[in-house]
Symmetry: C2
Subunit: 278 residues, 2 copies
Amino acid sequence: MHIFSNVAELRAALARVRQQGRSIAFVPTMGNLHAGHISLMQQARQHADCVVASIFVNRLQFGPNEDFDKYPRTFEADCTQLRDAGVEFLFAPTEQDLYPEPQTYMVEPPEIQHMLEGEVRPGHFRGVATVVMKLFQIVQPDVALFGKKDYQQLMVLRNMAQQFMLPIKIIGGETVRADDGLALSSRNSYLNATERAEAPRLQQVLQGIRQAVLNGQRNYEQLCQEAADTLNTHGWQTDYISIRRQQDLVPAGPDDRHLVIVAASRLGIPRLLDNLEI
Amino acid sequence: MHIFSNVAELRAALARVRQQGRSIAFVPTMGNLHAGHISLMQQARQHADCVVASIFVNRLQFGPNEDFDKYPRTFEADCTQLRDAGVEFLFAPTEQDLYPEPQTYMVEPPEIQHMLEGEVRPGHFRGVATVVMKLFQIVQPDVALFGKKDYQQLMVLRNMAQQFMLPIKIIGGETVRADDGLALSSRNSYLNATERAEAPRLQQVLQGIRQAVLNGQRNYEQLCQEAADTLNTHGWQTDYISIRRQQDLVPAGPDDRHLVIVAASRLGIPRLLDNLEI
């Protein structure tokens, strides 16, 4: 695996890949990798000849109350996993490499950036969209992969790519789960043993909502409220459970198809996210 | 000259150009072409093997008080000029081609977008930056050319390209002038004969400021005020004359180098723009 921090050097290496007629798949990450990320790398190999990953903890997407400095950095372990997964190039820029001057030109997503995850993380999706636009311009991949676990992020980036007519296919990778159904996340490490045993309930209540919708239930608000109540009586503090349209995460009406149930709920210290497509 | 309105067809044609190892220069316009535009096309040929022009009247950059529908459209005459100038591909999309859905993801420039031209044209530079980002993704040129006549636009696009690390070299084309010094502009056609004879004074007062600065004058505010007074006593209504830093159009201090004098003043119906680098 070739590791670059310098933009010009990475570009030169990728120009050679293109000259060889090889296609490029790109998987941006903030490091601290788990099996969910590695699954994306493996899927990337199905979509292109050459897989490029990036590790960059992007200050721009951290909210005022989020601790950029404490974000876990596990570079050596990440490199081992990426190498084993067949990643050919790793782009790991410093802040100076990627932001040689303060970023004052931004990609501004529409109103949805302030809802759901955006409500608790002001500026988050603007920061994500901006850094990903920038990484796309550097790597110029044919396809890029993002996990469905962060469904709102995937939606924002997919729509950004579509509206700016980026010549890049955006692919959503299925969420990787533990055997009991808990979605893998670096936040899971903050769960104690009791909480860890409780945690799969989040996915279970989403499965329950999905089954009810498939059975013809259309009172979405009531379904979600009942699911939140179930969680909350088991020690969770639920931020939201909501049935949305997949393409823009606008609240779904009874006639909408292609739905997704999105949820965020705190269990002990960590705030767990999950979702389920219908 | 090959003319395309469809994005996919243009992309396919340009992919063939790239496969031939030929470089691409791009000159976006809103049509209604004059010798200033054609000069950009000719310069473009110096910078790349293949010149792509676009004609698109971009609704997104028109302010609430500007008349999108009345913007002059002279497609046939434009095509003749572009063909004569050696343009190989013309991209002339319909609104449906370029905005198949409403544009809700925007490139948001920093505060400077609201000053100078931005003050009288709210949303203008956001609209320009967004459509140019989009055109860049479609054409994927090696170089792109914009006239220095619209200095603030050139500055915004140059900084956008730099901050998003677009793999595109931005080149500013020198302003083309009539023999008496008046900068060419489609707005000049609104001048009556008396006004047309008066119009070169705008460039003359900028030349005067430039000479004073080169002679060591550092009271920029007074210099500009005197120049505005001169214009206004000759029937002009001056919006601004200001000495700025070239790279970001922030007001220049006495120690700044690489300056530009920017000016906007109304003479009869049209509001004329001009500028002069120091």
